[in-house]
Amino acid sequence: MNRKIPLRVLAESVAEATGMSMDASQQFIKDVFSLIGDELKNGETVDFPGLGVFSVSQNHDCPVSFKAAPQIADDLNAPFAMFEPMVMGENVSEEELNAITVDDDISTAPAISVDAESLTSVPEISEESLECDIESNADGGGTRSDVVGIEMDVEPEEMAIAIEEELPTENMLDAVADENNEESRVSEDSFQLDENVQNTESSHYIHYIEEDDEEYVTETEPQSSRFWIGFIVGLLAGLLIGAIGFIAVILYMFDSAPPIVE
């Protein structure tokens, strides 16, 4: 990407595709574009098959104009093929387009109002869990709108259905199992239980990743032990070189000493 392809590289690819020699391919490319230049000089429009159309323009800075072949243009613009020109409204200005920002903040989202009709169409709710929650609402006497954070303008029976919609099925089964031991709980406990389950799963997953050692990581020796190993090896090498030098000097002195004349 963003490279400048010279003639040699282009000739190599042409030679590979056609089986020509490298020199013949290079010479052919020169001949082709030399001929096109001559024809353009004569004022002709040249249609190069598969590449595009060259024509002469009146622009002094760029006397030759080029229009790529449709096949090349389509292949180049394939990533943008799903986009089409769109006619904008008359009152829309570019400043307004630039001012549009995507707001991902949940706190600024509009309040959700729950319709009673949509709540009655909740599928797959067991009768036992439904009765359990209806009783809990009747005993508690409070609404769950403050817990769930949803505006509800419905009757207690319909509200119970809404509660069950918010709760996962597993939590419903847990609530039924604990029905005889304690007062049936409303969604705060269930939500906390659900969060605990999720936290347990995520912590287990993270723990698993931490235990999984990477294969390419090898344990390295401490820096201090490396230093001492290097120091000892250097010391031994120095002693060895010194000993050899000492022996060499002694041998030289004894060999070069004048013989004793008696």
Binding site: N2, R3, P49, S65, Q71, A73, L76, F83
Partner: protein, 91 residues
């Protein structure tokens, strides 16, 4: 000059059979297209450079009707003639 005329003239100039010339021209065009698709520039000595240019999406206005249209991004192949070719036209 059509593609057939170009191939005939090339065959006459180089002495290569027309079928071979047509095949080689197609290979040359394919090679240029491959490099341009990779957003590379293809430089032909003494002729010019083929370079891909990306146009960002933009808003255009029809001067007659006044309608604004949002155009999608696009990539086009631009030919930039070399100095040698430009001098041939000036001289």
């Amino acid at each position: 000059m059509t593609a057939e005329n170009l191939i005939e003239k090339l065959s006459a100039t180089t002495g290569i059979p027309m079928e071979t010339v047509a095949k080689t021209c197609q290979a040359l065009a394919d090679s240029v297209a491959v490099y341009v698709k990779d957003m590379d520039e293809v430089a032909i000595p003494a002729f010019g450079t083929f370079l891909p240019v990306k146009n960002q999406e933009r808003v255009v206005r029809d001067s007659k009707t006044g309608h604004k249209t949002l155009l999608p991004p696009s990539i086009e192949v631009v030919f930039k003639p070399s100095v040698v070719l430009r001098k041939r036209f000036v001289g």
